[in-house]
Symmetry: C2
Subunit: 133 residues, 2 copies
Amino acid sequence: MPAAAATEVDQTWTIREIADEFEVTHRTVRHYEDLGLITPERRGTVRVYHRRDRTRLALILRGKRLGFPLEEIRTIIDLYDRPRGKASQLEYVLDQIDERRTDLEQRRRDLEDAITELGEFERRCRADLDRLA
Amino acid sequence: MPAAAATEVDQTWTIREIADEFEVTHRTVRHYEDLGLITPERRGTVRVYHRRDRTRLALILRGKRLGFPLEEIRTIIDLYDRPRGKASQLEYVLDQIDERRTDLEQRRRDLEDAITELGEFERRCRADLDRLA
DNA sequence: GTATTGCTTTACGTTTACGTCAACGTCAAG
DNA sequence: CTTGACGTTGACGTAAACGTAAAGCAATAC
């Protein structure tokens, strides 16, 4: 038995398999394909998913958990995949990175404020509860 | 001139004023009212917004920036306003707080992962750029 | 007066993110 | 060879979050 079979590097998956694994429906996966977020290989008519597609799907779902619209998510993951041979392209990418970071850091502030407030609120509630006991 | 006028405590605003200030449309503000997220006073037919409404609107918009759906936002800010005289109510509120926190902390992890990845990506880009120079 | 400005409601339109059929192809099992 | 199990492409439906247009009152501006 060849060693390659043990850690199969170019393993592929069917749409049902990745849908189940990422806990989304096949419809969702195909919707992301319609929007150009994933582009699985085609063998004849059938979709074949590679590790690359799984990576992208993970990025998409995290983007969604963070509340980004799918179109915006596409520009982001496209950014990661974009060819950046020339200096001008790299400058552009670095600019985009900066915008992203600004956005993400705003979110982080919002998030930390929310968590802090929640903590203070909890303290008050516990104090009220103690008072009742 | 009475001292109260200097730091007017029960100042009120029109819908246009708060919409402009929070950089949303009046339509948006009214939509939030339709969903029960804000309940401004009515003088006759006209809406009069108090400081309380501004606080709520700020909470709503932060919730939106964090990607929460409006219905979920409503349950959260209702939680903050809910009467909690009895122990059973306080227990309930504390449970809800716990759920909220779990959610927010998941988001924080996602967010920090995203920021980290962005940083690594930037490093690689800068390295590429240096190589070209 | 009336004309404009600002607020109101009602109601239908739009975009995003899928869900939900319907109708069909295909491949291995019985 | 037909029956599933899984795959495919449309095409239409839906919920959320507003946008937009129509039509009306109400106070100030001229």
